[in-house]
């Protein structure tokens, strides 16, 4: 390979150069500057320019694992390595960020120093998984970098059929809507299940995303297998003095048009000209009125979270939204957190045992039915779990079916016990 490593002619990037103008900050200009000290970055831009010209991609993906880990490194080999020898191997290392993506400059500078020393000095804050992405190591420097990062206390993120790096909103750190300690829960789940994160043992990936309220700033409901979303029991907090101020400032029509008529369950009414009344039993905790009148209205005092399960993006059965499995769970104490973790373990056991290769938990529920899933993880069916009861009349009632002629008891045939896809299990 070293024979081919002759100094490349200066790399021209006329198409990429068009992305150096305009008001939005340009990654092209930044990487061009970086290429003065990191020649491989110049070659990276050279390959990208070729992609722009051909509308074609020149990276091959493969697997490279730090010993003891089953993921965390996204290995890439260039198909144009003859022209661009310095990026023949150009890998990404995923690193678990502090929950909520908060940093001291000390932590960030440490990452910069390690990555400048071993890698190409390109970072992405952050990847779609929520990981810190560090770009540009080869088959040797990946291990050196991983070692130094781990010595400094950082750890590799998840990839493949494993728990992925959990992510959360800012939560209690500066948001008044937050109903529990999102960062604390995220750290707890990451640390308790760090083995499942590093060593893939699931049918496919499993993601937690954690949002402190129904505004769902972590986009958990569509983008995670297990959203944990803040909510409260009992009445919301109302400061009628602030309500009065808000009505005076904005006018009663504004409150009617933008708060009262926008409530999905019509749970709010005007009371006189200075106050509002909330039918708390009928409030679904959607957060709209609180968002609009955030000084006057706040979540109630008895706080916790709603747990859903099964969200994912398109492949393969189309997008699935997460759906409710626990309407309310307190998350105040270590004990509460442990209970949540125990529920997670039950889900992994049932899905891990019965899920098919590459089957996300939402796809699994779609295949076996929510009722079977609930039985498998030991949860009772609740009306909060459905929009409405079924409309399809063909039902296998276990309790109402008498024994057959031979006297054998009726048993609903299990949809998960049958042997499926046996070739997947063959070594």
């Amino acid at each position: 390979m070293s024979d081919a490593k002759k100094k490349p002619e200066s790399i021209k990037t006329p198409l990429l150069d068009e992305l150096t103008t305009g008001q939005w900050p340009s990654f092209v200009s930044d990487l061009k500057n970086l290429s003065h000290t990191k020649p491989q970055v110049g070659q990276l831009l050279g390959q990208l320019e070729q992609s722009y010209e051909d509308r074609w991609n020149y990276w091959q993906g493969t697997v490279l694992n730090v010993d003891g880990y089953g993921g965390g490194v996204i290995a890439r080999y260039s198909e144009l390595s003859e022209r661009f020898p310095d990026i023949a191997q150009f890998h990404t290392v995923r690193i678990i960020p502090p929950p909520g993506w908060v940093y001291s400059t000390k932590s960030l500078r440490q990452l910069c120093d390690i990555w400048e020393k071993h890698g190409a000095g390109i970072m992405q804050l952050h990847g779609m998984t929520g990981d810190i992405l560090l770009l540009g190591t080869d088959n040797v420097t990946t291990f050196d970098a991983a070692e130094e990062l781990m010595e400094a206390g950082w750890d590799l993120g998840g990839s493949g059929g494993a728990l992925r790096t959990p992510a959360c909103c800012v939560g209690d750190a500066y948001c008044e809507s937050s109903c529990f300690d999102t960062m604390g829960i995220t750290k707890y789940l990451t640390d308790r299940f760090i083995s499942q994160l590093h060593r893939p043992e699931f049918p496919y990936k499993y993601k937690f995303k954690v949002s402190g309220c129904a505004n769902d700033c972590a986009c958990s409901i569509q983008r995670s297998d297990m959203p944990i979303i803040g909510t409260w029991k009992g009445p919301m907090q109302i400061d009628q003095k602030e309500v009065g101020k808000f009505i005076k400032e904005h006018g009663a029509d504004y409150v009617v048009n933008n708060v009262i008529t926008r409530c999905p369950t019509q749970a709010i009414t005007l009371k006189g000209s200075k106050e509002i009344k909330v039918d708390n039993d009928n409030c679904v905790r959607c957060m709209h009125c609180i968002n609009v009148m955030h000084k006057a209205l706040r979540p109630g005092k008895q706080r916790g979270a709603t747990i859903l399960v099964g969200g994912k993006r398109t492949l393969k059965i189309g997008d699935t939204m997460s759906s409710m499995i626990v309407p309310f769970m307190p998350l105040e104490t270590e004990e509460d957190w442990e209970k949540l973790g125990d529920l997670v373990e039950k889900i992994w056991e049932f899905w891990g045992e019965n899920g098919m290769e590459h089957e996300r938990v939402g796809e699994f529920i779609e295949r076996v039915g929510l009722a079977t899933f609930l039985e498998g993880i030991g949860l009772k069916p609740l009306p909060e779990m459905v929009i409405h009861p079924r409309t399809n009349p063909y039902i296998k009632f276990e309790e109402l079916a008498p024994g057959r002629m031979g006297g054998e008891p009726h048993k609903r045939p299990s949809v998960v016990d049958k042997e499926i896809e046996t070739f997947e299990k063959a070594e």
Binding site: W24, L31, Y52, N57, C112, Q124, M150, K295, L315
Partner: protein
């Protein structure tokens, strides 16, 4: 240290870094005890704690892909004005955390001048675009990510720095039909137009049962080519999703000459009002026109302007379209409604109008 020595020491299983060591002192002190916020200007929120403490959060758009040089500059600014603490949002914005009101203005100046990052992205604005790796570093992409985001944000810049829309507007891009970019008010996704081309030689190294099993429409079956095991695709069944391509690179789904881009609208994660929603197809067949994708930019701007004009306060893009009806949406924007807008996948009948409701 040699690779062998390094390998002996792993794994460490360190877990997540402690957020408490990375929190601004005011965030740590008032953790879980915040009272309300006030909008100072687009991109600047004043957060008030029950203790009376005040924290200014200044949000700036970043390109996400950054050199260590730029990140060190970010750190220099945070050291000067933020006691050495900062935060990133899920949409790759940087948040500078300022304890003293008098530091807000000089900080904004430093962010704009020294970093060249715009301040904005809060409330009823267009925030930074969620994106993936694209040609820069993915093995499957049909288009670029960072480049198309740069081109699009240049076009939408004025809506990042000023809140002038009915509600927040979130955009994502995806580089293949796996759609890693996620749901959004507006999403730009790649569309393939042929079944995968099977490379009989290369496919030998893939695990055939896994490739067969991953197909959502059971269109892949074993065959032989030149006496060796290979795979074939039933073209009538294949829906060009590319699931097999991720499993086996020799099932090539992309085609530089024919791949196009589509625009999907109306996704929303928040449970506010009627709850979360998935996005729907609005425009298809746009060219993958690097380096600036002008046709995509034009179509996105048409949608943004229609929403700006028609949306009620707090109404997200999808809620606006639902209120006025899709017929009106296509009339206002001038995009054609075609047979391809009618769903034919799972639960397609649930997307049909099963009432007499029409806007005549």
């Amino acid at each position: 240290m040699s690779v062998q020595e390094v390998k002996k020491k792993a794994p460490r299983d360190n877990g997540a870094p402690d957020h408490k060591l990375n929190l601004h002192p005011l965030m740590l002190k008032n953790y879980g005890k915040w009272k309300y916020y006030e909008k100072v200007r687009t991109g600047v929120l004043k957060r008030v704690a029950e203790s009376g403490d005040v924290l200014y959060v200044v949000r700036a758009g970043s390109p996400r892909t950054m050199s260590v040089n730029v990140i060190r500059k970010i750190c220099d600014i945070a050291d000067k004005y933020c006691q050495g603490f900062l935060r990133f949002t899920s949409r790759a914005n940087v948040e500078f955390l300022v304890g003293n009101e008098k530091d807000v203005k000089p900080l904004i100046k430093a962010v704009e001048k020294e970093l060249g990052f715009p301040v904005g992205g809060t409330g009823a604005s267009i925030s930074n675009i969620l994106h993936t790796q694209g040609w820069l570093h993915c093995n499957l992409p049909g288009t670029d990510a960072a480049g198309s985001v740069k081109a699009l944000m240049d076009e939408l810049y004025k809506d990042f720095v000023k809140e002038k829309l009915p509600n927040r507007l979130k955009i994502s891009t995806s580089c293949c039909s796996i759609n890693c970019g996620g749901q959004a008010d507006i999403a730009i996704n790649v569309q393939h137009h042929h079944p995968p081309r099977v490379d009989d030689k290369g496919v030998g190294v893939c695990e055939h049962p896994k490739v067969v099993a991953i197909c959502p429409v059971a269109a892949i079956r074993p065959t032989t080519a030149d006496g060796r095991p290979s795979l074939e695709v039933v073209p009538e069944k294949c829906m060009y999703c590319g699931a097999c391509h991720g499993q086996c690179p020799s099932m090539e789904i992309r085609d530089a000459k024919t791949d196009t881009l589509s625009i999907w609208i109306g996704g929303k994660a928040a449970s506010t009002r009627k709850g979360p929603s998935f996005m729907k197809l609005a425009v298809w067949g746009l060219p993958n026109n690097a380096p600036r994708w002008p046709e995509v930019g034009e179509a996105v701007k048409t949608i943004v302007e229609a929403y700006r004009k028609g949306g009620k306060p707090y109404e997200r893009l999808g809620e606006w379209v639902e209120r006025i009806g899709w017929k009106r949406f296509f009339e206002i924007t001038g995009f054609p409604f075609t047979k391809y807008h009618i769903d034919d996948f799972k639960n397609a009948r649930a997307t049909l109008n099963t009432s007499t409701h029409v806007r005549l």
